[in-house]
Symmetry: C2
Subunit: 253 residues, 2 copies
């Protein structure tokens, strides 16, 4: 039995998120079904974390145990030949028997993309969220830095989330929160790298910095809400389709 780590890219548009559920097709289930079809083995593919319905990934990590001895490079080809083209396996790698893609993750990076033009180009409609108003991107960038550091991110957590009452709590470290500007295509991508994220955290940060950039929320109110742990003091949760799980880093994989 080998433990195999997959690097997975997907367009989440047509899925009910990563995690297997009753009411919608999911990324996890689709990959598990392809593995069962190929090798006759029922496996569970553990993700580095869930992604919500409509959220995309460039570098999700999924781990499972396989009896079959197919080499990893051929496994990639076989899986891609048996998956829909909105899910692609980029890499397969044999890893330690106790490797856990969620608990062993050291850093995760999410991207959140806004489109800052007046009319959303059709080919971007599933991957970017329109700003709808003139946005001050320098101010967005400045606001992003408020989220950097180790602090209690209770204000950036969807109400009802398990983290609010869990032993682990709501303290996280954000190593970097920056803005990537593609002015030619009017795409502005927020890139946030941290040691862990609360439920909806990146979408709450994205919604908040955009409101500041549009002049709808003062940056001082954001700083205060972070100190107070006050979700209501931040902006709205931005839509799922703008979010991409960009990469997950491990000390060893």
């Amino acid at each position: 039995m080998r433990r195999i780590a997959l690097t997975i890219s997907y367009d989440g548009t047509l899925y009910g998120g990563w995690q297997r559920q009753q009411n919608a097709p999911t990324i996890q289930e689709t990959i598990e079904n392809a593995i069962e079809k190929l090798f006759g083995e029922k496996v569970v593919v553990m993700g580095s974390g869930r992604t919500d319905a409509g959220v995309h990934a460039v570098g999700q990590i999924g781990v499972f145990d396989l009896e079959h001895t197919i080499p990893c490079d051929r496994l990639v080809l076989a899986l891609n030949a048996n998956l829909p083209d909105d899910i692609r396996i980029l890499l397969a790698k044999e890893t330690k028997a106790d490797f856990n893609p969620q608990f062993d993750a050291k850093k995760k990076t999410y991207h959140y993309t806004f489109y800052d033009g007046t009319i959303m180009p059709p080919h971007l409609r599933l991957y970017a969220v329109p700003t709808e108003y003139q946005t001050n991107w320098d101010l967005v960038e400045e606001t992003l830095h408020c989220f950097e550091g180790t602090m209690d991110f209770k204000a950036c957590c969807a109400s009802g989330s398990a983290a609010l009452t869990s032993v682990k709590g709501t303290v996280r470290t954000i190593y970097e929160a920056k803005l990537i500007r593609n002015e030619k295509e009017k795409l502005y991508t927020i890139s946030i790298c941290g040691n862990g994220f609360l439920y909806n955290m990146v979408r709450i940060i994205a919604g908040t910095v955009l409101e500041v950039g549009k002049g709808a929320l003062p940056i001082e109110a954001v700083k205060k809400a972070l100190v107070d742990g006050d979700r209501a003091g931040l902006g709205q949760t931005a839509p799922a389709k703008g979010l991409t799980l960009y990469s997950v880093e491990y000390e060893e994989m």
Copy 2:
């Protein structure tokens, strides 16, 4: 009554092409229905040309006559609010009563996009075609220049096309056929600008230059097929999804 010219962008994935037909939803029909819903006027939207099922557009031109006096900027907003988000009206402009988007077109530019990596990124899957093998892009570029100039493009026309027996014939002028390289994203876009195109012409050119770039077809064979008007001497017709009608130019619109 005013004649109005629309600049239209669309993702053709879910449509049976531009032109109204029985068996599938089309771009033309979808826009005509939105106009009828908004203004109660049954109109025909004439395109600058048909695009096939799965073909996209960035700057298709569609023209229709409207009794309603809505200003053009408000017409854009109203149409976009009543169209699915894979069709966007970029501009509306009042034009001459006898303006014909097909016959008055002076230049059209098509783009055809290849992805030159080993695994197609999910977010590009509907807009780019995988090369599947190592491609010599310098050779692709050199081959593209063979298609520049005024000549009989009979070899670049799908068999059975009306152009083969029409009075207008198969002579066209290609002003420019060039390669746009985006090496970071492994996207290679063929851009072809001409005074008119035969049925499947750009897809046949794209399929041909790719085969040359892969070493499957000698450039001399391409030159000979063009002189001989021999469709069989060129490459396969490349898939629809890589093709985008990029722009249509008029002396006056």
